[in-house]
Amino acid sequence: MNSDVTVVTKKQTTQPVIFLNKRKWLNKIVFYTTISLGALIMIIPFLWMLSTSIKDQGATMTLPPQFIPETITFTNYAQVAESFPIWKFLFNSFFVAVTSTLGQLLLCSMAAYAFSRLHFKGRDTLFLIYLATLMVPMQVTMTPQFILMKYLGWLDTYQGLILPGLFNAFGTFLLRQFFLGIPKSLEEAAFIDGASHFRVFFQIILPLSKPALATLAIFSFMQSWNNFLWPLIIVSNQDLMTVPLGLSILQGRWATDWNLLMAGVVISVIPILAVYLFAQKYFIKGITLSGIK
């Protein structure tokens, strides 16, 4: 805010000090009102979700709407948990997201090491081919991938949920860019001491790449946790459903029981929000680096 003050003083050196403060305050009030209104628009839908999830069915159909319900009930959560294997959904989502994330970190960082540190014929052409596939929308690959899953007998399996998602060129690209920025002098010293590529990779490159790895980890976790289309295509057994898919079948069953639906949504949103709040810094960084949701 300091710079604002100097602008005002420079322009209006003849104005009395009181006026200056008034104007500054007015600016501040307008500024905070606007930004708070915006933030309210972002937050109210979530509060409304929470509020609906602890109402009984009748209280969802009142006008004016009750923001704080007259009677608070948690039976909606109990009913969601009784009618659907919601814990199983959560476990599946966690299991799929964690394994996809770890798998991507390992596979992408190894390939990125090859693309940035090892020299072989056709390396750069191969990397360009990787990059080119980034432009192909997943709708192009999803039909053949589905057919492949069907022939492998991987419909309704964890490997079907996890494996195809491990191999997108994005992670390799992100880490290669980061590895290229690491000065080579560090490894050269290690090589002179007789270290192998494995040691250099695991003991020098990876520890130095923590920020990039964290960014990729959060990015893949979020992508996997929120993925809807792929599970929708290959999973029909409730025991293998992830949370977004589970939510969509909740909707099929309780199209108008908003209190129950919102309880389901709350259960689905809380884990990812917790992860976000713990790792905010990396989320923002990941988005800025990638531009991909």
């Binding site: 072989f120 999803m142 494996l163 531009g291």
Partner: protein, 294 residues
């Protein structure tokens, strides 16, 4: 260096690259080529694929549903893209100041971004409920009777656009914030000495120096919006009366509802072609308006 000669060198390369490369080939490379091949066949998943040349592509040209899906996708983009860009830029400008509670506000705007599309779509479906939804209740404060958003062909797409803008604002805002922080303070200081007004500073410093960021956002958002699907699937399933059927919804329907794998693949290649051409045009046009001088 150790192991840089002969078979040892290839052993090292294979160790690092092969796991990724095999998976890439099986799950990305081959599917892309298969999909191109399938687009020239007629196949219901059960019988053997039958080669039919360009018939699928000819079929697309005659398919009125395809044109209406394309039209709906374009309508979505035309309404969504400028709105989300302007709103996000506005908020980014506000948040770019050194202010109290900045972290809190940034977090608030970002919460919809991390939530899944399915969750967000369900929340907004409830907010858009014609009788008890908050949106129409809010409109009633001003004496308006809100429409039956998701059941009315005139309003359903608008509801989907509003939901999408709400969810993506934080994402675009973060990108703009990064761009704003790259603009050197010295430009503003120089302008201040010349006595430039805030509006002039915005038009002649911020906007031009932000064009590389804006260009990047445009490319990414256009690609993403051509692939709009989750929110449509949950909120309207393409209805009412096909008014929100978008291209990906159409691909999904043909592949996984009617089991027309060949036709679905052909539509997906048309989608890829459209995205590719639009990106190419944007790249060509960038010289005219993107300012890389900084």
């Amino acid at each position: 260096m150790v192991g840089d000669k002969g078979w040892k060198k290839w052993l090292v390369i294979s160790f690092f690259l092969l796991p990724n490369f095999i998976g890439f080939l099986v799950f990305i490379g081959i599917p892309i080529l298969t999909s191109l091949g399938l687009s020239f066949t007629k196949w219901d998943l059960l019988s053997t694929p039958e080669f039919i040349g360009f018939d699928n592509y000819k079929g697309i040209i005659e398919d009125t549903e395809f044109w209406s899906a394309l039209k709906n996708t374009l309508l979505f983009i035309i309404a969504y893209l400028p709105t989300v860009l302007i709103v996000a830029l506005g908020i980014a400008m506000l948040l770019n100041k050194n202010m109290k509670g900045r972290a809190f506000f940034r977090a608030a705007y970002f919460i919809p971004v991390v939530s899944s599309w399915v969750a967000v779509s369900l929340i907004w479906k409830w907010l858009f409920n014609p009788a008890y939804g908050l949106v129409n209740y809010f409109l009633s404060w001003f004496g308006f009777v809100g429409p039956d958003w998701l059941q009315d062909p005139q309003w359903a797409m608008i509801a989907i656009v509003l939901t999408s803008v709400w969810k993506d604002t934080g994402f675009v805002m973060v990108l703009f914030l990064a761009g704003l922080q790259n603009i050197s303070e010295t430009y503003y200081e120089a302008a201040e000495i010349d006595g430039a007004s805030p509006i002039k500073k915005f038009l002649h410093i911020t906007i031009p120096l932000l064009t590389p960021t804006t260009f990047f956002i445009l490319i990414i958002s256009l690609i993403n919006s051509f692939q709009v699907f989750d929110q449509v699937m949950i909120m309207t399933e393409g209805g009412p009366a096909g008014s929100t059927t978008v291209l990906v919804q159409k691909i999904y329907n043909h592949a996984f509802r009617y089991f027309e794998m060949g036709y679905a693949s052909a539509v997906s290649w048309v989608l890829f072609l459209i995205i590719f051409i639009v990106t190419l045009i944007q790249n060509r046009l960038q010289k005219r308006w993107v300012d890389y001088e900084q």
